[in-house]
Structure formats: structure tokens, C-alpha cells
């Protein structure tokens, strides 16, 4: 096995570095999901409001994040925002900001759709019981909508985890970035190292994303 190149995965601190890189991907994805889902729920509820202006603003917000590619978004947030607003954050937190805004946009549409597909009779029954608007959402609509939106939410999470691989363009030390360092450092000695490093990264992403995807599928099946 001396020349196969698989050993570069375990030479020196390489394995630990790849894992540390993966951890950067995981926490950035997790934090942005938590923030994004909370903000997205609020936006989603607001999108069912009666105010036309509010709905229009939120609609524009959603379309902006749908249309702009994530690469461009990261670039904007990393290079332009700090200059404009004098934000003094590290690259990882700028990434969280960009991802959280993106998740909020996507999730707001999922929440809106779910809220609107809760049967009208439920809303009317709640109002008949004398619930206030906040109580109506808190106890009747959101819990029912949550079940409907769960599979879409999980699929969004898998997308966010995969998209962390773009973070290398804004100098975040995530798993792909570390992988490239390792490949180039060993390229002269082990030209086939690229296969092993990317193969390993493929397995890492698969192990993280597959259970989520299987979970979403089993929920959908149960709901049928």
C-alpha cells in the first residue's frame, strides 16, 4: 500500500484536520439552521397577514434569496457588507449570517404553504372558541403546520449541510478546504491522493446527509 496514496489521510495530523474541518461545516450549518428556522417561522406567519405591503416586502426578500446563487451571496456578505456597515466578524460568522438569511427566506415559504394548507375549519373553530390571534397561531395553526412542513424542513437542512462546501471561497477552513491543502501538500509524492481525499469527503457528507434524507422520506410515507 506504500504508493496507493490512502495513507495521506492518516499522515501527520491530517485525519484530525479533516475532522476539525468537518466540525466547522457542521456547526456553521447547525447555527444557521437554528437562526434561520426561527426567523423563517416569523416571516412565514407574517406572510399570511392581511397587510399587502408587508407581504410584498417579504415576497421580495424570498425571491431575492431564491434568485441570487449562494456563491454570489457569500461573496457579497463577505466582501461588501463589512465595508458598508463596519462589521468586524470572522469569516465563519459571516457565513452563518449569509446562510441564516438564506434559510429564513426558503423556510418562510415552506411555513406559509403549510399554514395555508391547515383546513380552514380549524382556524374558524379556534376563532369561535374566542382565541386571540397569537393564541390561534400558537395553539392551533403552527402545531398543525409543523407536521406538514417537517419533511421540507429536513430536506432544507441537508441542502444547507451540502452547501457549506462553498465556504472555501470565503476562506473558511471547512472540510473541502483542508482536503485541498492535503492534496496539494502531497501531490508530488502521491498523485493519486486526490482520489482518496475526495472519496473520504464524499463518505463524510453521505453519512451526515443520508440519515436526514431517510428520516424525511419515512415521515412523508407515514403521512400518506
Amino acid at each position: 500500500m506504500a504508493h496507493s496514496g490512502i495513507n495521506i489521510l492518516f499522515a501527520g495530523n491530517n485525519f484530525g484536520r479533516l475532522m476539525a474541518g468537518l466540525w466547522n461545516s457542521i456547526w456553521i450549518a447547525a447555527v444557521s439552521l437554528v437562526i434561520g428556522l426561527i426567523v423563517g417561522t416569523i416571516f412565514g406567519v407574517l406572510r399570511t397577514s392581511n397587510s399587502k405591503i408587508l407581504r410584498l416586502i417579504l415576497r421580495l426578500y424570498l425571491e431575492f434569496f431564491r434568485i441570487v446563487p449562494t456563491v454570489v451571496l457569500l461573496y457579497l456578505v463577505y466582501y461588501i457588507l463589512p465595508e458598508l456597515f463596519h462589521i468586524n466578524w470572522s469569516a465563519s460568522w459571516m457565513a452563518v449570517l449569509a446562510f441564516a438569511m438564506w434559510v429564513a427566506a426558503e423556510f418562510s415559504d415552506i411555513v406559509r404553504g403549510a399554514l395555508q394548507s391547515v383546513p380552514e375549519s380549524q382556524r374558524e373553530a379556534g376563532l369561535a372558541l374566542g382565541l386571540s390571534k397569537v393564541q390561534l397561531f400558537r395553539y392551533v395553526l403552527i402545531p398543525q403546520a409543523f407536521k406538514l412542513e417537517l419533511p421540507a424542513m429536513i430536506n432544507l437542512a441537508t441542502r444547507v449541510i451540502k452547501t457549506t462546501s462553498l465556504l472555501l471561497i470565503i476562506s473558511v477552513m471547512e472540510v473541502i478546504n483542508v482536503g485541498q491543502q492535503i492534496i496539494e501538500a502531497n501531490n508530488q509524492q502521491y498523485p493519486t491522493g486526490v482520489f482518496w481525499v475526495y472519496g473520504f469527503i464524499f463518505i463524510l457528507y453521505f453519512v451526515l446527509d443520508y440519515p436526514l434524507s431517510a428520516w424525511a422520506k419515512s415521515i412523508t410515507n407515514k403521512q400518506k
Binding site: 501527520g12 476539525a20 457542521i26 470572522s90 476562506s171 496539494e184 453519512v207 443520508y210 431517510a214
Partner: protein, 290 residues
């Protein structure tokens, strides 16, 4: 069938949990090894006095270009540029914070105030001079021509009517495109061009000479017959346009280091293991001493 599927799901799910825990463990224990983002904070205070006051300098380097700027298997940043970066920080009396860049975002990183200085194999060109300020050069590069030892090509005249392999978009292609008597065979990547060359599809191959030196070392049947052809180009530190204070300081520093013969030392430590004995420091570094 369904049962088997469930078992697979459970196994992968368990693996995922283990993976998260293991990566968290390494993420918290060897944070320093992944240095590269800690320097990326925004600040427009880039003058020498402000750098000294804040106690660290933010240096943009490559992370994947051996032997100039790369990360070794121990996770340390090393290379010709990095060695210089450490010396600059030492002479400023401040700590160093690296920020990793690639070829495309070197200019943006400076202009958006993410780094104070770029030491990333930055070749001086007229176009780049308009967007950043270059200090005095610390390395020279030019086009070289490599050929088999059995049929060496030592002068440009010998190339007449022969097939020459180049990569698209390189300075080598630009230079030889102006010579009608050479037949160019163009490829998209380094890997392709070297494979084609090894298969005998051309009489010679032209590229940046420093790159060829390193390649020849691993391919002893070939030799860099023409070490330097065409105009010389220089690699310089770059600072944000208008940062006079740091620019002047860097110029003085490079003059001082040249007198000291620092770059020979740098060459011997970082480049020589890659280039081998055939190449002299004077092929890469500028005139040293007095």
C-alpha cells in the same frame, strides 16, 4: 427487504452521530491547526503604527501551492512566502495572523480590508498595479522550456518548426504565440500538459520556470534546457492601494533583507528541497548582499 433497509438506516444514523461527536472533539482540540480564518476580521486601520498597536499583522497567503505557500501534514503553514511573512512579523514586533486566499481573491481580500499584506506568489503586472500597491520584489520568474535529456533544446532557435506544449492562459502561451515559427500545442490544465509531454506529443514544454524546476526533480529524464526566455517578471508583496505607511516600511524591509542575504536562506530552507541541486538560488531570488 424492508427490514434490511431499516438496519442500513440505523447503521448510517449511528455513524452520523459518531461522526459529529468525533469531529466536534477534533474541532475543539486542534483549532489552532486550522489557522486561516482568525485573521479575516475587517478593519480599515492598516498603517504601521496601527498594526503595532493592535499587536498582529494579517497576512494573506496561499494554502495549496507548494513550495511557496502551503500546509504540511502537521498542519503548519510553510513555504517561501510564509517564511518571509514570519520574518516581517518578527521585524515589526507583532504576532502573525494568516488568512488563506486563492489566486482569484487576492485583490478583493486587500481591497475589502481583510488583510494588511498579500504574500501569495503575486506576480507584478500592469493591470494589477492599478488596483493594489506593490512593494519591491522578492523573487523573479520567467518562462522556461523543458525537454527530454536525450534530445535537449537549449536555445529558442532549436524550437523552430517543432511542437511546443503549453497551458492556455499562461505567460508561456502569451510569449510563444508571438513567434510564428513555433507550433503550439495547447492544453487546459497542468496535468494534461505534462501527460501529453510524457507521451511524446511535443518536442518541448514551456511554463513558469520555477514550476518546471520542481517538475524536473521528479522526472529525471527531462531537463530545463532553457532556464529563462522572454521578459522577466517579478513577485512582490502587495498592500492596499494608498497604504503608504505599510508600503514604505515593506520596501525598507526588503532592502534590508536583501543586504542580509535573507532570501538565500529562505531559498535553501523552502525551495531547494523541491527544486534540487541543478538550480541555483540566483535563478529565483534577486541579487543579494550589499
Amino acid at each position: 427487504m424492508k427490514k434490511r433497509r431499516n438496519i442500513f438506516n440505523i447503521i448510517v444514523g449511528a455513524l452520523a452521530i459518531i461522526l459529529v461527536v468525533v469531529s466536534a472533539y477534533f474541532g475543539f482540540t486542534i483549532k489552532g491547526l486550522n489557522s486561516g480564518t482568525q485573521g479575516s476580521q475587517w478593519t480599515s486601520q492598516n498603517g504601521v503604527t496601527q498594526i503595532k498597536r493592535r499587536g498582529y499583522i494579517r497576512v494573506a497567503v496561499f494554502g495549496d501551492l507548494p513550495p511557496y505557500g502551503w500546509v504540511n501534514d502537521q498542519g503548519q503553514r510553510v513555504g517561501y512566502d510564509v517564511y518571509l511573512a514570519h520574518r516581517i512579523a518578527k521585524d515589526l514586533g507583532v504576532k502573525i495572523r494568516f488568512i488563506q486566499v486563492n489566486a482569484n481573491n487576492r485583490v478583493d481580500t486587500l481591497n475589502s480590508n481583510k488583510a494588511d499584506i498579500v504574500l501569495a506568489n503575486f506576480t507584478v503586472t500592469p493591470e494589477r498595479k492599478e488596483v493594489v500597491d506593490f512593494a519591491k520584489p522578492y523573487m523573479k520568474v520567467s518562462v522556461g522550456v523543458v525537454s527530454p535529456k536525450s534530445a535537449p533544446i537549449k536555445t529558442a532557435a532549436e524550437l523552430k518548426g517543432k511542437k511546443l506544449i503549453v497551458t492556455k492562459g499562461t505567460t508561456a502561451e502569451n510569449y510563444f504565440a508571438q513567434h510564428d515559427d513555433v507550433n503550439l500545442l495547447k492544453f487546459d490544465s497542468k496535468t494534461q500538459q505534462f501527460n501529453a509531454f510524457k507521451n511524446g506529443r511535443g518536442a518541448a514544454l514551456a511554463d513558469d520556470n520555477s514550476y518546471l524546476y520542481a517538475w524536473v526533480k521528479n522526472n529525471p529524464r527531462y531537463t530545463v534546457g532553457i532556464k529563462s526566455i522572454g521578459p522577466k517578471q517579478f513577485v512582490s508583496p502587495a498592500v492596499k492601494k494608498g497604504n503608504e505607511s505599510l508600503l514604505n516600511w515593506t520596501n525598507k524591509e526588503i532592502t534590508k533583507l536583501n543586504k542580509e542575504g535573507f532570501f538565500i536562506q529562505d531559498y535553501n530552507k523552502e525551495l531547494q528541497p523541491y527544486f534540487g541541486k541543478d538550480i541555483k538560488p540566483s535563478d529565483i531570488v534577486l541579487t543579494q548582499g550589499k
